[in-house]
């Protein structure tokens, strides 16, 4: 097992520092795997665009896909300019990274001992960039079909800077307070999914419901596009989770296997629950269930065995489905159920990590409750609570500030016309 074969938190957690390759020599296999994983994670953002795009009405599909595509461009630049420095730069007060790495200053090709000792520092940076890209893109599902594009641009930039970057530093940055506390998050249950899911709920509440919500049925315009998007997300998620080992070794293999297992189990469970509830096995339900499983296994993927993955997948299928029923009952128009899938799925996954983590998988991490370490549940709850609070508060403030300069919502006639035409002047289909 190589030095970079363990990762859950930075500064390179003890389980990496104590490994057998402290010389920080670049390993070609590890580097190839992390770069390939970065490309896999990159694919997830346009895949998300297709997943969301199929779920909206045909008059809004292009604008929905544009949200993901635009964020890929926007955060790629933000990350190299200041995002990476704020998230992973030298620690300030255990809360945020410093500005020493702005513009990738001091981020070169020599491995960084704190994060990944066997790959070039820039390889780690670009891998993390793809996580920073997809996270605000996830939120876009909550305000689909009604947000003004200009407001979306401003919101995304501010959110990435003031919500994502600090939470990433707390959990993964060298010296971050949640890392120091001992909270485990292998690939982003708190950093990516709780932050985006909770922010989505706040955004849906602040923006209000779509015109006709609850009165007219809003049907997905292309279920095949959504299923294709879900499949591509599943594919890319192997880079997300197995790549988070930052090395091509046994831990990456384990993360790959549990990711696939939990995803499949969640899809089976969701489909079964919805079959029982709605009396038919929904294709879109199976796709949504798979995504819920991917979300839930994310924080646990480097710490649990395959049996734990089955339980996590089962829980994701049940809890996320119930969350959608709750969301419908309280009439919140989180258009594409980002909160139910990512917020609740991420919360369940983070909590389940504290239940099912085992040192048999990651010998230098920690056991969970079921392996004799009840304290780990408390650490996980602290990480969950902090992520919920910061994401909710930060999102609310940012939306209110953006609304001062640019109205968050399009006008009624623009919403009726559809955002493809009213915001971008282009129809999706010329059929």
């Amino acid at each position: 097992m190589s030095a970079g074969d363990f990762r859950g938190l930075g500064p390179l957690p003890p389980w990496v520092q104590s490994s057998d390759n402290p010389s920080m020599k670049i390993d070609s296999g590890d580097t190839a795997w992390v770069l390939a994983s970065a490309a896999l994670v990159m694919l997830m953002t346009p895949a998300l665009g297709f997943f969301y795009g199929g779920l909206v009405r045909r008059k809004n599909v292009l604008s929905t896909i544009m949200h993901s595509f635009f964020i890929l461009c926007l955060i790629s630049v933000q990350w190299v300019l200041w995002g990476y420095s704020l998230a992973f730069g030298p620690d300030k007060f255990h809360l945020i990274g410093g500005l020493e790495w702005v513009g990738l200053n001091n981020v070169g090709f020599t491995p960084n001992a704190d994060y990944a000792p066997t790959i070039p520092h820039q390889a780690y940076m670009v891998f993390q960039m793809m996580f920073a890209v997809i996270t605000p893109a996830l939120i876009s599902g909550a305000f689909a079909e009604r947000q003004r594009f200009k407001a979306f641009v401003l919101f995304s930039l501010l959110w990435a800077t003031f919500v994502y970057d600090p939470i990433a530093h707390w959990v993964w940055g060298a010296g971050g307070w949640l890392h120091n506390l001992g909270a485990l998050d292998f690939a982003g249950g708190t950093v990516v999914h709780i932050s985006s899911g909770v922010s989505a709920l706040v955004a849906a509440l602040v923006l209000g419901r779509r015109l006709g919500f609850g009165k007219e049925k809003v049907e997905p315009h292309d279920a095949t596009m959504t299923v294709l998007g879900a499949c591509l997300l599943w594919f890319g998620w192997f880079g997300f989770n197995a790549g988070s080992a930052v090395a091509a070794g046994s831990l990456a293999t384990s993360a790959f296997v549990v990711t696939n297992t939990a995803t499949a189990m969640a899809a089976l469970t969701w489909m079964t629950v919805s079959w029982y509830h709605k009396r038919q096995p929904s294709v879109l339900g199976a796709a949504a269930g798979a995504v819920a499983g991917l979300v839930a296994i994310t924080p646990a993927s480097g710490f649990v065995n395959v049996m734990g993955a089955i339980v996590i997948g089962f829980g994701a299928g049940v809890f996320c489905y119930l969350a959608i029923q709750l969301r419908e009952r309280i009439h919140v128009d989180d258009a594409l159920d980002v909160w139910a899938v990512h917020g609740i799925g991420g919360t369940w996954g983070a909590l389940a990590t504290g239940l099912f983590a085992t040192v048999a998988i990651n010998s230098t991490a920690a056991n969970g409750l079921f392996y004799g370490n009840p304290k780990q549940v408390l650490y996980q709850l602290a990480a969950i609570g902090a992520s919920w609070a910061w994401a909710a508060g930060g999102t609310f403030v940012i939306l209110k500030i953006v609304n001062i300069f640019v109205p968050l919502r399009v006008q009624e006639d623009e919403e009726l016309l559809g955002l493809d035409i009213s915001q971008h002047g282009e129809p999706a289909y010329a059929l």
Binding site: M265, L268, T269, T272, V273, W275, Y276, R279, Q280, P281, N305, M307, G308, I310, V311, F314, F356, T358, F370, Y371
Partner: protein, 49 residues
């Protein structure tokens, strides 16, 4: 067999057993619009000499 394995087996059993009691086919019927062939849809054009 540890506790995690026991719970995993129970979860799998619940899903598998669930399939035994689920309906065989969708109870909601979806009205499918009658498919009209292009030829029938076309209005006949009479050509007079």
């Amino acid at each position: 067999m540890d506790a995690t394995t026991v719970i995993a087996v129970i979860c799998s059993a619940i899903v598998l057993a669930g399939w035994l009691v689920l309906p065989h086919s969708a109870t909601t019927t979806v009205k499918v619009a009658a498919v009209v062939s292009e030829e029938r849809e076309r209005t006949p054009v009479s050509v007079s000499a």
